[in-house]
């Protein structure tokens, strides 16, 4: 989409003000075959497996049986939120950071429950920061009041595979507190105009693709992973897999430059929370983390929290299944 394509500007009602101004068709979670097909879910899955292969079948099943709701409508009206301009540069490049200015450590989740988007973003940014930087163009326009408009490319996954690119136009006005601070994703490194806004732009574009911040609250790590990489994903449940198999998958992803994220269980018992305390980790249930690195000698995994703190560095493989449910891997390298 070109900078001038799409709906015309309306200076009275700024269309890029709110994330839900970008509302588009929500991807259907269920299957709607174009012609008469199998009558049962099992027959549908078998037919799909024969025609589209295992990966597409797994993606479909993931959407149908995932423990996480695809969306989490909270009844919030995005238009009632307080949006304010954040004048920081898109990217700030402190010494030692990649020349693009993108760094996984720039990511700091706010009040929005979009760990499932920010964790894949962190995993991907760690592997190839330039590809993440390339998702954002602009400003492609500037309004008289100084509001900057950006174009952001993200990808929408489909159960048959082959993600499609969507271009979303967003302004530099973000949901803010009374004191002007961002309520959702936080600014990154501080430059001359304020904190860098690349994470905030990507989050806002994602919310726009989902139909508003309200619909971006809670979702699937696979959707977040595909959105930022344009690559389909595989997911594996930890239960029923040996530690050796889990290690092979995760260490293989790290070696091959495939982003990988991992989801904690929906609930933890008092004993499990006590165990976390005893080994001095702060673990949040129902939360998406991302994998930074592995240590083969010690069989430990550096698991990062999209909050930007309370990381689970050096987490022992043998304790993974006590706290984590499943992991999502990019099907291809992101290098």
């Amino acid at each position: 989409m070109s900078a001038r394509a799409g709906r015309p500007y309306d200076r009275t009602v700024p269309v890029h003000e709110h994330a839900d101004a970008q509302a588009q068709d929500a991807a259907p979670a269920a299957v709607a075959p174009a012609r008469a097909g199998p009558a049962t879910a099992a027959a549908l899955a078998l037919g799909l497996q024969r025609s589209a292969g295992n990966a597409a079948t797994a993606r479909l099943l993931q959407r149908l049986v995932s423990p996480q709701a695809r969306t989490g409508a909270t009844g919030q009206d995005d238009r009632t939120l307080d949006y304010r301009r954040h004048a920081g540069s898109v990217f700030v490049r402190p010494e030692g950071e990649h020349r693009s200015g993108v760094d996984a450590d720039d990511i700091q989740q706010g009040l929005l429950g979009d760990c499932y988007f920010l964790s894949p973003l962190a995993a991907a940014a760690r592997i190839n920061p330039q590809r993440i930087a390339n998702l954002i163009r602009g400003p492609v326009d500037t309004w008289p009041d100084g509001t900057r408009i950006f174009e952001v490319d993200l990808y929408e996954g489909h159960w048959i595979g082959n993600p499609s690119k969507r271009t979303v136009r967003v302004s530099d006005r973000f949901v803010s507190t009374a004191s002007g601070d961002s309520r959702y994703a936080q600014p990154g490194d501080v430059g001359t105009g304020g904190g860098e806004i690349w994470v905030m732009l990507l989050e806002k574009a994602w919310a726009g693709m989902r139909g508003g911040y309200d619909r971006a609250h809670s979702g699937l790590m696979a959707d977040g992973m595909t959105a930022v990489t344009g690559i389909d994903t595989d997911w594996e449940s930890i239960e029923g897999r040996s530690d050796a198999r889990v290690w092979r998958d995760i260490a293989g992803c790290v070696r091959d430059g495939k982003p990988v994220t991992i989801q904690t269980r929906q609930t933890l018992t008092a004993e499990e929370l006590a165990e976390a305390r005893d080994i001095e980790y702060t673990i949040f249930a129902k939360h998406a983390y991302n994998i930074a690195s592995v240590n083969a000698e010690w069989q430990t995994i550096d698991i990062r929290n999209p909050h930007g703190n309370n990381h689970l560095n050096g987490f022992p493989l043998v304790r993974l299944r006590r706290f984590f449910d499943y992991y999502v891997m990019s099907e291809r390298s992101f290098r």
């Binding site: 709701a69 429950g113 018992t269 006590a274 129902k286």
Partner: protein, 88 residues
Amino acid sequence: MERLELPETGQAFHAGHPVVAANIWERASIDDPAGPSALRAQIVVGEDRPVEVVEGDEVAIGDERWRVEQIVEDPVERRGRVVLVRAG
């Protein structure tokens, strides 16, 4: 009365401190796993150890004291929340 609403696993920033509410459901206390169940949550300020709370407890955020007014477990959305009110 000053209030602070913390959606489960979201991260708020208050007075320069990141604050997270997490692990919200009905369960026994971490300090007494064999004890009675209640609706409990953990509040984490920065990288301090999590503090387990029930409604009515007080927690510290920096130099401030906050009372846990409400803990909500949300089985529909699968994310709960904790509401704090400024104490004192």
